[in-house]
Point group: C2
Chain length 218, copies 2
Amino acid sequence: MPVDLSGDDMQRINDLVQKKQRVARGDYLYRSNDPFHSLYAIRTGSFKTQVLHADGREQVTGFQMTGEIIGLDAISTDLHSCDAVAMEDSEVCALPFNQLETMSRELPSLQRHLYKIMSREIVRDQGIMLLLGSMRAEERLAAFLLNLSQRLARRGFSATQFQLRMSRQEIGSYLGLKLETVSRAFSHFQELGLINVKVRAIEIIDVQKLQAAVNCSS
Amino acid sequence: MPVDLSGDDMQRINDLVQKKQRVARGDYLYRSNDPFHSLYAIRTGSFKTQVLHADGREQVTGFQMTGEIIGLDAISTDLHSCDAVAMEDSEVCALPFNQLETMSRELPSLQRHLYKIMSREIVRDQGIMLLLGSMRAEERLAAFLLNLSQRLARRGFSATQFQLRMSRQEIGSYLGLKLETVSRAFSHFQELGLINVKVRAIEIIDVQKLQAAVNCSS
DNA sequence: CGCCGGATTGAAGGTACTCAATCCGTGTGG
DNA sequence: CCACACGGATTGAGTACCTTCAATCCGGCG
């Protein structure tokens, strides 16, 4: 997952920040092939990133929330390789990358932080590959819900009650499933008493069993 | 894909290299949870990287060949997050990461190179997510073969004739398919006259149609 | 109130999986 | 040198899971 900033580094990055930037729900922060200038720290709100295939198919590659950094994919070619779309009205800080590069030579902790953030993104992606490559539908959804829960908890929100910012369609795209399959999996988990679902309002009732469902969706 | 080294940076990294290290076919270069010291540049041979799930399922996350760098995932936690296994007798150079970090403060080009390598790995992973999340079996295999072909060509090998280093099982794991499905897809491509397959010896006959198969496996 | 988009639910169909038999190439032992 | 055993690959038949197509529901908004 694009990674939380904290402590000293965050302070220093704050100094670097030029302007806070608003992005309305549905707007693109950047698009695939846009020229690369900055990474973005999400201050409030949330985004999805997606890649588009030649024939129009799209794949959501991640959901990002407050405190996470997006845009790392663009460093390699100086072009963004995916779209970033705000899932709600959001605020970001642009972090001009060439300034980050310069600063990171003088601030070893910043340099290390950047390496770690990028590495964590790689590890996150490995996890998604595992999910997409070897889990069944309900296992994927369970893993998704638990991941969301953990990230919200780390931010001080409830780990058991939250509002989904994304549609069934978007969840499906992220999990490699069709929206109907996602919907059915939600309904099934509710039948089993693992969660309460009221459209986008989720309550996790039995974390244990949900974790068990990741390993073997029975 | 872990990215090719070239030019100046490779020179400088060469100076840093302590020792060439041999890894026999089937041996682990590192395992998940091993402590992290070094990145590895593959000098000869090829590797697969895989993550293991609690319940024993495994997912191949990549096939790496000469000139590519592996181990980037370990930076985030100082523990390797996957296994790296030699697919043939291979040689690697260990690149102690703390030395890389230090050097990269003095050599902006090295620093930039490291950022780019990591970013390219992130982009590569996005591509695999797209593949796993939204392609059918034969589309995945076609994409796999074309990717392999390109990478071999860039290294000066034939783009149309090559030996697979990995089993059907491993290809299947990488592509999120069962080995039988991989085998059937190979056979079907041969029937269609797109490729010649003799077990692990591959000849690509019609690149165009193979590319078309990525978009719409007919 | 009635429309609209997103979500749910049902039924039918298809793709990939599972299980199983066979093939084939390589390496080993008689 | 040939026979056989072994592992990986191929092929077939039946099945399961997810998708597709379609109808319905539900909440928000004009």
